[in-house]
């Protein structure tokens, strides 16, 4: 009985890992295809976070001994990736990197005029 | 036959030496010294490596790598960064006095 549960968990884990790898592949394609810094940064954080989370959960499901450790790693990725991305994007905006010409929303502009 | 690890670390040492000799910017020279530091550390650790051995933590049996270079390098890295900070603060002091970081202008060498 337990053996069947382990096999099912392993299959689910491999499915998670394949989903994660797919998102990582999309992220790396987007890194080449996207037009400007901000869009590239979005693919490099959002898609990569999702991909890394799925890979970590998949590893935890395949070997249950690793589940707590991989969950802690996942929490830290969720905590740190957006912080770094927002700091980098803000720094590049303040440094004068232009937006892509098709961009519609520019909320930082109003804030910058207030400064 | 010389080993690739030794070649890599000696290359790092040579690059650091090249920066120290050829560049005339104080911060660049300090960066060169840091590269040399890293090269020496890598050389020490690679001398202490043993094939098919594990780290010298005796939870697991088996042959261990040489722990002495690791103990030396562990302290050398921390000393390295603090000495680099000291050198950089001296460079900042020189910049405040003379307004430049180029060695030729500080020493008054004509080109």
């Amino acid at each position: 009985m337990t053996a069947v549960v382990y096999i099912i968990l392993e299959i689910i884990g491999y499915i998670f890992i394949s989903i994660g790898t797919f998102f990582l592949l999309l992220a790396s394609i987007g890194l080449i295809r996207m037009p400007d810094v901000y869009n590239r940064m979005q693919t490099a954080t959002k898609a990569t976070t999702l991909g890394a989370l799925s890979v970590l959960v998949g590893i935890g499901l395949i070997d249950l001994w690793w589940l707590p450790k991989s969950l802690i790693l996942a929490i830290f990725i969720v905590l740190t990736a957006p912080i770094g991305a927002s700091a980098l994007a803000r720094a590049s905006y303040k440094h004068g990197v232009k937006l892509w010409k098709g961009s519609v929303v520019d909320k930082y502009k109003d804030e910058k005029e207030e400064d | 036959m010389i080993q690739y690890y030794y070649l890599g670390s000696i290359a790092l040492i040579a690059i650091g030496m090249y920066i120290v000799i050829a560049k005339r910017n104080l911060i660049k020279i300090i960066l060169g010294l840091d590269i040399m530091d890293t090269g020496v550390n890598l050389l020490f650790i690679s001398i202490g490596y043993v094939k098919n051995a594990t780290a010298p933590i005796e939870n697991v049996p088996g042959p261990y790598v040489d722990p002495i270079p690791q103990a030396l390098v562990l302290t050398a890295i921390v000393i390295g960064v603090s000495v680099m900070a000291l050198a950089l603060s001296i460079a900042i002091g020189i910049y405040k006095k003379t307004g430049t970081l180029e060695l030729d202008e500080i020493l008054g060498v004509k080109k």
């Binding site: - | 910017n25 911060i27 690791q70 390098v73 890295i77 950089l88 910049y95």
Partner: protein, 82 residues
């Protein structure tokens, strides 16, 4: 040629290339960032040489503290090498 050899040779080549980039950059900030990348890859090499203590130290110091100290120094002097 086992896996250890191949991976180490690739990492060593990347290390030497980043060191050359740090040597030849006129922008001191880029040179400092190249130095940080070099430290990070050297810490991976330390881990492969079975020295986890040294790898932790190098990753914490070389990639974070040493780069921060260099960047603070560049901020209070000038950025470009003549």
């Amino acid at each position: 040629m086992d896996l250890f050899t191949i991976v180490s040779i690739i990492l060593i080549i990347i290390t030497v290339i980043t060191a050359i980039i740090a040597a030849e950059m006129k922008d001191l900030l880029s040179a400092a960032i190249a130095l940080g990348i070099m430290s990070l890859i050297v810490s991976i090499l330390f881990y492969m040489l079975q020295a986890p203590d040294v790898a932790i130290t190098e990753a914490a110091i070389g990639a974070a503290l040493s780069m921060a100290v260099v960047i603070f120094a560049i901020r209070s002097t000038e950025r470009w090498e003549k």
